[in-house]
Point group: T
């Protein structure tokens, strides 16, 4: 039915290797609830830094879930 | 009590007819949880297109709900 | 004369039916002062909600008026 | 093939009745080139005004076309 | 583990005294779920007004929670 | 009547003590015209500085007034 | 007194020659009310075009006036 | 007919003298296709620099053309 | 000659591997028309998702082409 | 002389008490270099959180310094 | 070598005549450190006003310098 | 001490391989001054292009340094 309601959510995934892996982590963790999801947009990229070295890449991803009353 | 805490949520409603109906669908689906809601803002309008024709109007609506620890 | 000065103003119109009517209300209320106006831009769309139902659509419209010293 | 290149385009459609019709005009005029298009986003809504009355609604729509070298 | 997934949330706190107290209310209400939170950003400040007088300060705060499938 | 037209206005209030007082000054100066105002948003915070010291806090507040033709 | 309230206003000036003259026209038309104004910011630059030629430059300028109840 | 469709385009013009000339170059190069254009907005101003000296002013101008299927 | 006119274009490239490859695809497809291009800016990154898994990375790239009348 | 060149800088000040004190700390630390500074704008407000409690308020302040070649 | 690191800086130049001269002042004051600079973007234009008259044009210019540890 | 003052800085790093390496170059060049840095945000991604091919990826990174009077 075309009149479903969706909820927009932002998740932050993390990876030691790349922003691609960080985004994939966010999406695949949420994956079971995402059957209708077609597009996931990047809203922010950043890095964790310790002692002047990059230790992790983080991607903030905007997704939408089917909505059920909370 | 004036010190309640609210949670800001974005819902996407859909309608074959208009953005007004799409927004109304989003709000009225969420309606039971919205007793204190007074204003709902539009954050994005878009359309679904199939074979070069518009098949649905979608409204992304920003609402706030009373917050309970998750 | 091409050197007239204009003042940019934002008005909010309201309608129980649609954002188009809400915007038209804003413009036509201001109408008598708007002889030179050609374009009016939408800056925000929102809704009034009561008891979980949409009771009014509101359009914030940006217009320009001929300016006279205040 | 997943590696196609698309070009992002903004079109402005006009209607005497509603922003929905204005957007539909923009999309359906472009329709023959849009076989892969799934989503079209609204980037701006405005109105033409003559003698203090609204004479047309305009919707600026962002689409993407399959890209061929220009 | 560095690959946890977080969910970005916006809460609105209220106080009769100051935006600092309003923000603190939002954070401390959510506090039990926030063990890893280090930074909370202000996204919007506003006021409730009654009869032309300010009755409450409100702070919209962006936080992140550890994410569990919904 | 739900079809009133409002005008959006930005006022800047000033205080030697805090941004809360600066905002309150802006609103309460305008207060007599604000019977329907429920929410006033902060659009900008800044400070006046003299000889390297802060001498005043300023809050730019967005309000809406009932509109009468100008 | 430091607690005066100011009103933020946007004016559009026009000139056949340059955006500097267009902005100067906006400010100097408003000049008598602007005794405390120190800085005026440009918010938008555009041009009027007729038959494919530029006929005027326009500058939208943001100013602040001392506020008196309307 | 009010239902024409327009395409929004951004052109960058260049001039050794001023941003006004740079914008005029962009518009007048495109001029033959612009019979209905009334307003052209500036989207960005920048400069080319060589050996620490400004060698050209550039204006990015947003225009709209009548749209024909591509 | 410094007075050439350029057209700003946004292309979306896709890759199963990375946003770098997606962006490179967009640029190299357009390559023959890009002799003067020096810088290409990323405007948006997103992903295609199918059955809760990332199937492609997409990069929206802003480029400029030498302009010829359309 | 009106042709001095200034450098725009953003500083982050911290306080356990309020955003006003945090901003004042940033400005007064920089004070000796700020003889011509008249206005300092807030660009961001946030908080440090430890164990679900606010431990510090932080204000990011935009200032300008007289510029000397680096 | 392609792996140099640059620092982004914003300078404000001033001129009694035009925003072009104001921007040129900012760049040419910084010129000796700018050997690799190719493009300088305008981030803000404003004016100083005294007694209701424009006394100076100011351009805020974004540049990049080769970076050395501070 | 919680009342230290920080300076926000944007650096641009470059790499022939990826935006991750470009960002890492920016941060690790600055590393010795960054002992307290925890998070570095990406503000812009772009590419250098020569003869229609990508020759370098560039990441603009926002960092903060402990501030000492300049």
């Amino acid at each position: 039915m075309t009149d479903s309601v969706y909820k927009v959510v932002e998740l932050v995934g993390t990876s030691a290797n790349s922003w691609e892996d960080a985004a994939r982590n966010a999406i695949e963790t949420a994956g079971r609830s995402l059957r209708d999801l077609r597009i996931a947009e990047i809203k922010k990229l950043d890095m964790k830094v310790e002692n002047g070295r990059v230790t992790a890449f983080r991607s903030r991803v905007q997704l939408s879930f089917k909505y059920f009353n909370e």
